[in-house]
Amino acid sequence: MRRVRFGKYLAGRLLSWFMVIFIGITFMFFIPRFFPADPVEGMIAKILSMTSLPEDQVVYIRESLRMQYGLQGTLWQQYLGFLKGAVRLDFGPSLMNFPTDASSIVMRYLPYTVGLSLVTTVVAWTLGNLIGMLAGFRKNKKSSVVLEYIAIFIYPIPYFILALVVQILFCFVWRIFPLTATIVLNQGAARFWETLLRSSILPACTMVVVGFGWWVISMKAMSENTAEEEYVRFARLRGIREGKIATSYVFRNSIIPQVSGLSISLGGVFGGALMTEIIFQYPGVGQLVQKAITQADYNMIMATVSISIVSISTATLAADLIYPLIDPRIRFQ
């Protein structure tokens, strides 16, 4: 009985997951095509600025570019062709890096983006919830008050200001870290990891600092409310030790909404961290998206944004499926 209900729920949920992706991708297909910029004309202008060509050659180049970019035929034909490729994760060549495959460029950047965002999201979440829990559970202790003020102070700082301050301090005043990320790829694994680490520490720390304030504030509010609940009071009256009350009663109840928050955040790690990537010159998908949009690289836009759409809707799906595991009151209907 319960299994049947779960199967039904899962089928419906998978359908809506698929529809969200489909509709999202469709929108992303059409929107760039209404941009005033046209990648073919852009390329022709670039060629013409270097040499002058007779008119019939320009027409010929235009036709062959349209074919190679996958832009010939009506919009509808282009759309069908795109869908056919997309299921094989083939989004065609990148227009700005013609003729390299858009997917392979994304794949080159994705590990850096995912690595950085994944680690910082998880660290910020863990740290934020632990601090928030302490601040909320022992709200009258001085240390909790101090922690909370730090979080409230940090939370509203705009990321770019924090990043610039950190950069000035650690790259100019104390020359500990490189100003821009330089990751050495061709001198062996040890050198690669060392440079990766050195280049990632500042971006990661700034992302954690900016990200964890919210988790502290929300967890503090949650645990403070939970600590006032009758079941916590009754647990105390039963003589249950504070450590047990903190973990099994307060933390366990307060963490529920935070877990869904985490899974939504994790869905976003594929989208890149544009600000970080610009300020620290960190290789990542965020900058790729930005360049693709400004240069009307349709295929690159599709490759990067599709990944984001799929990952975010998958994360939401995962959150929905995880929920009943952490909260028994939720059942699939």
């Binding site: 609940e229 009758e230 079941y231 009071r233 009754f234 647990a235 009256l237 039963r238 003589g239 249950i240 030790r241 047990k244 099994s248 009663y249 366990r252 109840n253 529920i256 952490i326 909260d327 028994p328 009151r329």
Partner: protein
């Protein structure tokens, strides 16, 4: 035995102390159900808090003490205010008001039972042994042993309160304090819970203190009853005697306000409301609402004393009657 020895307890507030229990001086005997009755704000819950030693700010004991003596498993024990906490759930336990929210909503009941084993009893039996014992105990209380695997939201209000009572009594404490244990339940379920409490008390011959504003509840299960008014104990006596022959005018008016089967007479309440606890009037607290009040009642507080065998009251009108 619980000896409440000239106990005064108050809440510390910015505008001064609010004395919620003043000079309470009485005994609760072994093997009895002692009821504490009175209207809202008369100090009965505060009294229970002090008995259970929940002296969290702003509640404080200004004078007197509570002394518990008894024995469990042949071992005598004695506890005093300030040191009752270490005996929680072992010698003394607490049944809260029937409410949706007194159990952890996301933990199975068996875990909440296991959490409640006092530290000194851990290791005396394995978890499985404890759960087997609890299972058998639940069946005694007419609860299916499957209840242990349930979450609180899967139980009805009555089942939940039975489970809470099981939780409060599975370590077989000598003293059980119950604060309005049936207030949120409908009368049918309420009766079941009261019968259960009574059965448990008869079986284990321990002491139960039951706080309720509902005199009907007291009439059904208590052996003796204490009537409180405005922070003071007004009258204590055997429940039956007290209902048949109330000595204190307040008790008499309370009982007279109770509806009775077959009696169609219009019930009258007690006009007025209790005096403020922050700044109580001198003399008897009830004088302003008492139809029989004399001059002396408004100036001198009557002593709480034994007015007849086993019957205590604080009233100037009883002065003539011999102790």
């Amino acid at each position: 035995m619980i000896k409440v020895d000239h106990l005064t307890a108050s809440y510390k507030t910015l505008d001064g102390n609010v004395v919620a229990v003043e000079d309470a001086n009485f005994e609760i005997r072994d093997n009895e159900i002692f009821g504490v009755a009175g209207e809202s704000g008369c100090g009965k819950s505060t009294l229970l808090k002090v008995l259970y030693d929940i002296l969290d700010f702003p509640l404080q004991v200004d004078a007197g003490r509570v002394l518990f003596t008894g024995e469990k498993n042949g071992q005598p024990f004695s506890l005093e205010t300030g040191g009752v906490r270490k005996a929680w759930w072992n010698h003394i336990s607490y049944v809260p008001q029937a409410a949706m929210s007194v159990l952890n909503p996301i933990a199975r009941l068996k875990n909440q039972f296991l959490d409640s084993i006092p530290p000194e009893d851990r290791g005396r039996e394995t978890k499985e042994q404890t759960l087997d014992r609890v299972r058998a105990y639940l069946e005694e209380l007419n609860l299916s042993s499957e209840t242990l695997d349930a979450y609180p939201f899967q139980l009805s209000g009555g089942m939940r309160q039975r489970a809470i009572i099981a939780l409060a009594t599975f370590m077989h404490p000598s003293v059980i304090l119950a604060d309005e244990p049936t207030t949120a339940l409908d009368v049918v379920v309420q009766r079941g819970i009261l019968m259960l409490l009574m059965k448990l008390q008869k079986a284990s011959r321990n002491t139960m203190v039951l706080v309720s504003h509902d005199l009907g509840v007291h009439y059904q299960i208590t052996d003796r009853i204490g009537i409180m008014y405005s922070g003071r104990m007004m009258e204590i006596g055997k429940t039956v005697d007290l209902f048949q022959n109330p000595k204190h005018p307040y008790t008499a008016m309370l009982i007279d306000a109770l509806p009775r089967v077959g009696d169609k007479r219009q019930r009258v309440g007690i006009p007025g409301s209790p005096p403020p606890l922050r700044n109580p009037p001198p003399g008897c607290r009830f004088a302003a609402r008492c139809p029989k009040a004399k001059d002396v009642c408004r100036h001198d507080a009557p002593a709480f004393r034994e007015v007849s065998q086993g019957r205590y009251a604080a009233c100037h009108l009883l002065e003539g009657e011999d102790a």
